[in-house]
Symmetry: C2
Subunit: 248 residues, 2 copies
Amino acid sequence: MLFEELKQRRTIRKYTGEDIPEKLLNELIETACRVSTTGNMQLYSVIITRDKEMKEKLAPAHFNQPTVTSAPVVLTFCADFNRFIKWCDWRDAQQGYDNFQSFFTAAIDALIFAQQFCTVAELAGLGICYLGTTTYNAPQIIETLQLPKYVIPVTTITVGYPSEIPEQVERLPLEAIIHQEKYKDYTREDIDRLYRDKENLAANLKFIKENNKKTLAQVFTDVRYKKEDNEYFSEVFLKIIKEQGFRF
Amino acid sequence: MLFEELKQRRTIRKYTGEDIPEKLLNELIETACRVSTTGNMQLYSVIITRDKEMKEKLAPAHFNQPTVTSAPVVLTFCADFNRFIKWCDWRDAQQGYDNFQSFFTAAIDALIFAQQFCTVAELAGLGICYLGTTTYNAPQIIETLQLPKYVIPVTTITVGYPSEIPEQVERLPLEAIIHQEKYKDYTREDIDRLYRDKENLAANLKFIKENNKKTLAQVFTDVRYKKEDNEYFSEVFLKIIKEQGFRF
């Protein structure tokens, strides 16, 4: 099958020292630009970080995950209405894009563009890692990369030649994520059945023990993605979206 | 190059009558599940619409774009924290995911999963079309597909075997969307240069004339993506995100 490689893919966090030639990186980005975009507006930008000092400045925003400073290239994908609005302003067109729906539209454009970049990069033999920290610490990233009004970072990807081939991690059974015609809500029995394999994996059992928890779910709620953090970073993200010009 | 097909891709809105076998569709979705997901939480669901009546019910939410009723399969991709929260609730874990950051995290998961599905489907010979109308009319889609609390549709894709091969549409030059190390804001001269080819395309000149406008940008601001629509649908989308349980 043509997509066998996509079936075998995994996140790569460790890279060889090999650099990514500018010509190749440009070709990958240009290919990714062929992905769908709302009304062909291309409401995204990507900031390319290769400079060691710039990586060090970005690292704290990503909670100093080592992949940021060790990757040859760090890409910050932004929802960008700045370019389009400037174009409207200079073409005698009255823009109406300083609102939440427009921000979200640009975020969709940026995210599917980011994902297409990842796939293209992987098909070229590179490895990638997403940094979900981007929306937590958007204000610091905006400052470091000097993002103007109407530009919000929505995800970051580290890219490089793989120096590891980690095990593929588990996924829920297909049944867990598809619904035929209408959403069929989950009963307790469904949840038990769908999460059983995940909960019984040796790696996950170890995870529970290491964190002194009773269940795997508690590792998520009490350690990895905590209520107080989510609530704090909700406020921060909402505030910066507004400060960058999207009113609501 | 391995990604030559992705360079040649285009949106397909018209399909042959041929159905997509369930086994193939499942394999495509399962392959797409290999895409990155935040903390391996898989915060997405996909609703599969094959039933003619269900397509007719969904169509108005997508402003009756003909692709909805003519595609063999319509897929509604949802940011889904419902499944994960139920799992937490039934595992003695105190969830903290009823907030904006968590909604946005689930939206990211759903969107990159949707895009990976598109790529996998295209590599299998299918064609896809994104429907940006999903976030405009989320309330109607939620009602039709019976989406519970903590589930928000973020994009919809029609899928089928292509019955057309339309021309590839233009893209801005690569220079327009990349920034080295820091965001370099656009001067008026930059915008003139970067949009020149787009503005001079015969198809776009025709577009201006047909809409009785002076500039291509005015076709966007006055006809296609209007201020009053964007503002109205911002209110609608914000309201439904809150009503579905994400407080802010």
